[in-house]
């Protein structure tokens, strides 16, 4: 070797030279390993200078994109992690509704369709699947890492279309998601500020319309956002060490705040509402809702209502200032927020401020709490890389959150880069083979499948408008004919959250509660409970859902329902997202003796990052090689379809390592 191995990189020492090419089938199947072969690297240092193999590249892309493709693997091999990351940081963001070229604006302004949750799913899929833009095909959407990080953020800073009002406002949800996209490589403090004032979050956690106390009517400021912005979006419930482990006092965790802090925050977070509540010159703050809200308000930050509107009769006992700044008799004076070493003003919010100024103080107070780095960093690691990161890994990332090297706190770009280039992310699978990894989220299984199999939208019709816009009975046009990049369809794109007919029970901004589809702390029953291993994604995989997801995959692979070579049914109004099995036909029997080895090895690279165990490989080949020309003219396609299902449904695939 000749190169010295630094003591800190102890996992580099465990590399044993097992030639990567030596994946020969062994005589006795029982002796085949159920774990991936360790890979041989000739460079022990500088993991961040890789990738050195296709497997390295694919593993990285599984963590940094919505699923590796052959093209992406080759490209990453050619330019290396650093250059790839730089490309990604520079790539044009794919927005849902922000900017002229955003998908929903094209749908609405050019196609004259109405914006609904269905085409909000399409907009999301365009970012997640990538590829040519449906309006301007020469524009290729490549911002995979930004989209993946935004999705991870959407599972921490949760809003959901399961809220009735938000279900009726896809625009507000799309604009909210654009905040996550726009700030994915920005600063967490900016993200917090924009999320807080977004109407979607205002509706979801009740800060919108929250007002100072009115003790005569026994009205108090609502605590929902005050509680969740602390509990879920920043510091969590217990004090953390820099490595994410809980601090203990007398063997018990230490709470980050007492109830009175939440009450005080609730009083600060008052006075904000839709931007147009008082546009008619009257005070409509109380009960300001759809009848006062202009259509553009869903895409506008909330406004502070603390100035008496003009021409308004004066009430003797109540001002039309809805923000609690400590000056009104029902207000809370001198609010004590979070106290921690270095907190500005000791966390004491002095009276007499403005709504915006007080909000900034409160969010700064939260943002600068020492918990934020480990609390957020650990969850981002869990969303991208592994469910049980070592405390040392968490600490390395949290340290970058605290200070990115240029004295900036909260720099998400540096945090993301640190997460992905850390030795534990790049090599953890080999060091902790039994416990490293995470259960793939069902939605990302879907996007991986579609990306890797070059899925396009197929079939569908153009339906003319019925009636005149603005009159009863009007039905807007829909345009789904010859739209390969509109990722739509009842069986596929629009029902990703379906639990009965298709779907994987998951979609962006679609969780049942503010606690996302699963909690970061969830521990599945059985062995992982005994060993104290977290598996957040297991929480949504109940007995029915786990079978249902497998059935959805079955329908898209072995059952072959969604193949681009199929004829379109006459009544197929909207089409569906479909793949092309035929692309892999050439590999199905091309190995010596007509075996399916090349097919399995290709799928190993494309789907399993080269980590398919010898046992699994042999198991698949034994069966696939029984499919021959006597099984029909499409026997090679049958091999591909079987391989796809058995791989995508398998435990070895479902755990991203």
């Amino acid at each position: 070797m000749g190169k010295s191995v630094r003591a800190s990189r102890r996992w580099a020492r465990i590399f044993v030279g097992l030639c990567a090419a030596g994946l020969t089938t062994m005589a006795a199947a029982q002796s085949l390993s159920h774990g991936p072969d360790p890979m041989f690297h000739d460079k022990f240092e500088g993991v961040a200078a890789g990738p050195y193999t296709d497997s390295d590249a694919a593993r990285f892309l599984a963590q940094a994109t919505f699923g590796p493709t052959d093209t992406d693997i080759a490209h990453l091999r050619a330019i290396g992690y650093q250059a790839w990351l730089d490309e990604q940081f520079a790539a044009t963001p794919t927005y849902e509704i922000t900017g002229q070229t955003a998908y929903l604006n094209w749908v609405s302004n050019t196609l004259n369709e109405q914006i609904g949750q269905d085409n909000r799913f399409e907009a999301w899929l365009l970012g997640a699947i990538g590829g040519p833009d449906p309006k301007t095909n020469s524009l290729i959407h490549t911002d995979q890492l930004r989209q993946r990080v935004a999705f991870a953020l959407s599972e921490i800073l949760v809003v959901s279309d399961q809220n009735t009002r938000l279900g009726d406002s896809p625009q507000a949800l799309a604009w909210y998601y654009d905040i996550l996209i726009g700030n994915a490589f920005g600063n967490y403090r900016d993200l917090l500020g924009q999320v807080t004032l977004s109407p979607a979050m205002g509706v979801y956690l009740n800060m919108l319309g929250n007002r100072r106390a009115d003790l005569y009517n026994n009205v108090h400021p609502d605590e929902n956002y005050a509680r969740e912005v602390n509990q879920l979006f920043s510091i969590g419930l217990v004090m953390l060490n820099p490595d994410g482990t809980p601090q203990l006092s007398g063997g018990q965790p230490v709470p980050t705040y007492l109830q009175n802090a939440i009450t005080n925050f609730a009083h600060v977070l008052t006075g904000w509402n839709w931007a147009s509540c008082d546009a008619d010159g009257r005070d409509n703050f109380i009960g300001c809702d759809t009848q006062y809200q202009a259509p553009g308000d869903s895409l506008t930050p909330m406004l502070a209502y603390e100035t008496r509107p003009p021409a308004q009769p004066i009430e003797p006992y109540f001002d039309f200032n809805y923000h609690d700044n400590g000056m009104h008799e029902d207000d809370t004076a001198n609010k004590q927020l979070l106290a921690y070493p270095g907190a500005a003003g000791g966390g004491l919010l002095i009276d007499g401020g403005t709504a915006a100024g007080d909000l900034a103080f409160a969010l700064d107070n939260i943002f600068n709490h020492p918990n934020v780095g480990p609390f957020i960093s650990k969850q981002l690691i869990q969303r991208l890389v592994t469910s049980n990161p070592s405390p040392a890994y968490v600490q390395r990332v949290a340290a970058m959150f605290d200070n990115n090297g240029s004295n900036v706190r909260g720099d998400l770009k540096t945090v993301v880069k640190t997460i992905l280039l850390d030795p534990e992310a790049r090599l953890g699978q080999w060091h902790d083979a039994d416990t490293f990894g995470k259960l793939r989220e069902p939605l990302i299984v879907l996007t991986h499948f579609w990306r890797a199999m070059h899925a396009v939208h197929h079939c569908g019709q153009n339906i003319a408008a019925i009636g005149t816009p603005g009159t009863p009975g009007y039905s807007p046009p829909t345009s789904y004919a010859n739209q390969p990049y509109r990722y739509a369809g009842y069986g596929t794109g629009w029902r990703t959250n379906g639990t009965q007919w298709g779907g994987v029970a998951q979609a962006a901004l679609d969780a049942d509660t503010v606690f996302n589809f699963f909690k970061p702390s969830f521990i599945p029953a059985g062995e992982m409970t005994t060993r104290g291993l977290r598996g957040p994604e297991f929480q949504m995989q109940t007995d029915s859902i786990v079978a249902h997801i497998s059935n959805t995959i079955h329908g898209m692979t072995l059952n072959g329902e969604f193949d681009v070579n199929d004829a379109c049914g006459g009544g197929d109004t909207f089409g569906d997202i479909m793949i092309d099995h035929a692309q892999d036909i050439a590999l199905a029997a091309s190995a010596a003796g007509g075996g399916a080895d090349n097919l399995v090895d290709e799928y190993n690279k494309r789907f399993m990052s080269g980590q398919m165990s010898p046992f699994m490989r042999n198991n698949l080949l034994v069966y696939l090689n029984t499919i021959t020309s006597s099984d029909g003219a499409d026997w090679k396609q049958q091999r591909a379809m079987n391989a796809l299902y058995m791989i995508l449904a398998s435990p070895e695939y479902m755990i991203q390592k």
Partner: protein
């Protein structure tokens, strides 16, 4: 020298309660397998059904005073008007209940009714098939206003359930009632664990329909989480002719079935998460057939086929569809149908969401209560149709109650709340509670009574930082009512009906020892 068997089980159950290191849990699990369990044997069948209301139901607008001192307090605390949340007495469904100091009276010289949208549940109550358990909530030990105030605002060491107004923590506490903050089992699961000997192996003792949570998490008892209507089977095994099974040799192409199933062979995977995923799939495959056979038998039986008709939308996903499936499974188990032969005790979990009414409460809450009322009535009627109404007891539970005071048209997270228990075995038509034995206090100034079965709803304006004169109020001005009945007492009463011994009940509800009354008498 071997410690005795009961200590093994106790230690293991305590390990399951969490707050103990993984190492000792592992050690005790081995001991549990070695030790024999308490041997329960029942000749009859019973089902316990947890109806969980996610978000924290506003029970103060569900069970509402019509007249009397409580109505006066309600009017004062919850005025009616724009952006306010009070309900008028004329809108309520009257309840017929004992009064004065008679057993089963709310104890506050007031008359109560149910929300306008709950006539069905009112009928159940008035015909003695439903009871109200008042002011239940998470408590470690009896808690006075001073205790709560000191702990919440002055950081005293008085033990309160951790994170009192946090959804996730209170949900965990309600469903597991542990002494720690990180439960590894629910109390439904612990009950099922203890009753393993009363049931046959290989059939699910616990079933969650429409969602899964920690209530039905045990250490050894088998649970099954399904969508309403039917258990989802694996199409690959069904359509491959393998009858939904991975048994070797099955299917039209046994090699194909084997190729898939080999990858799921139990315990063979080289990664703990892979093994867990494989176990999930195997469990799903193994149990779906049993469940579906039971539901099919219910649909085929002349009488039981009428069960779905008792519910508004049995084909959907909501609470009523979930309870429909539960009723069918209860029928099958009680009649040894499908694969559910020989089951004597079963625990079910169903749920409804949307109760976190921070705003628009008067617009949102009624529909939620309609669903709850029709679902519980439908469940009772469905079981009565097949003569099993005495065999199942359904009980509601929720993260917490809500604040008596409002905020811009809604309410915030509270603490104590009232709950319903429904079934033929229930001593219905009565109010139960005050299990901690709080002494009623009559305020000399206003003559209002505090601390009876139903808590006082009075919330006079107090100076900021001063506890409310209403001793039921935790004192921070939001009208958060301190529970006078602990979840443990509520759960212990149900466990007693279910057939557990006093000793086992004390083991699985450690905090119960802090309360003088174990059983509240409603069933």
């Amino acid at each position: 020298m071997r410690p005795d068997r009961r200590k093994f089980i106790q230690q293991t159950i305590r390990a399951a309660l969490g707050g103990v290191g993984a190492c000792s849990a592992l050690g005790h699990m081995h001991l549990l397998q070695a030790a024999a369990r308490t041997n329960y044997a029942f000749g009859d069948y019973k089902a316990l059904v947890c109806v969980y209301l996610y978000g924290g139901n506003d029970s103060f607008n569900t069970i509402v005073p019509i007249s009397g001192a409580a109505r006066t307090a309600y009017d004062d605390t919850r005025p009616t008007g724009t952006g306010l949340i009070g309900l008028t007495p004329g809108s309520l469904n009257s309840l017929t209940h004992p009064t004065g100091s008679n057993a089963g009276s709310p104890g506050d010289n007031s008359q109560y009714g149910l929300h306008q949208n709950m006539p069905e549940l009112a009928t159940l109550f008035n015909t003695g098939k439903a009871a109200i358990v008042a002011n239940v909530g998470t408590l470690v030990r009896p808690t006075s206003q001073q205790d709560a105030w000191d702990a919440m605002y002055n950081g005293s060491s008085f033990p309160l359930p951790p994170q009192l107004f946090s959804h996730s923590d209170q949900t965990a506490y309600w469903q597991s009632s542990p002494p720690s903050n990180a439960p590894l089992s629910g109390w439904g699961g612990r009950i099922a664990d203890l009753l393993t000997s009363a049931n046959p192996a290989g059939v699910p003792i616990m079933t969650s329909v429409g969602g899964d949570d920690i209530f039905t998490r045990g250490q050894t008892a088998a649970g099954y989480a399904m969508n309403p209507g039917s258990a989802t089977t694996l199409n690959f095994l069904e359509w491959g002719g393998a009858n939904g099974s991975c048994a070797p040799g099955g299917g039209w192409d046994p090699n194909q079935i084997a190729a898939f199933c080999n990858l799921f062979a139990a315990g063979t995977q080289a990664n703990a998460l892979e093994r867990t995923f494989a176990a999930s799939m195997n469990h799903s495959i193994g149990t779906a057939g049993v469940i579906n056979a039971a539901i099919a038998a219910a649909n085929a039986d002349a009488t039981a086929a009428g069960i779905p008709g008792k519910f508004p939308n049995p084909g959907g996903y909501d609470l009523d569809a979930q309870l429909c499936t539960v009723a069918q499974l209860i029928w099958a188990a009680a009649n040894n149908q499908g694969g559910l032969n020989g089951l004597h005790r079963q625990v079910f979990f169903v749920n409804a969401g949307g109760f976190d009414t921070h705003s628009d409460q008067l617009a949102q809450h009624p529909d939620l209560l309609t669903l709850l009322s029709k679902s519980l009535k439908g469940f009772y009627d469905a079981l009565a149709l097949v003569g099993l109404q005495d065999k199942a007891t359904a009980f509601t539970a929720s993260d917490f109650g809500r604040t008596m005071t409002g905020n811009n048209g809604g309410t915030d997270h509270g603490w104590g709340s009232h709950h319903f228990v429904v079934g033929g075995a229930v001593q219905g038509g009565k109010f139960y509670g005050n299990g901690i034995g709080a002494t009623p206090i009559t305020d000399p100034q206003d003559g209002l009574v505090y601390g009876t079965v139903m808590p006082s709803l009075f919330d006079p304006a107090t100076t900021w930082g001063t506890p409310s004169p209403n001793k039921n109020d935790a004192g921070d001005g939001y009208g958060r009512i301190i529970p006078t009945t602990a979840v443990d007492q509520y759960a212990g009463t149900l466990a007693k009906w279910f057939g557990l011994t006093d000793g086992d009940i004390t083991t699985i509800f450690p905090s119960l020892a802090n309360f003088n009354t174990k059983y509240l008498g409603f069933v």
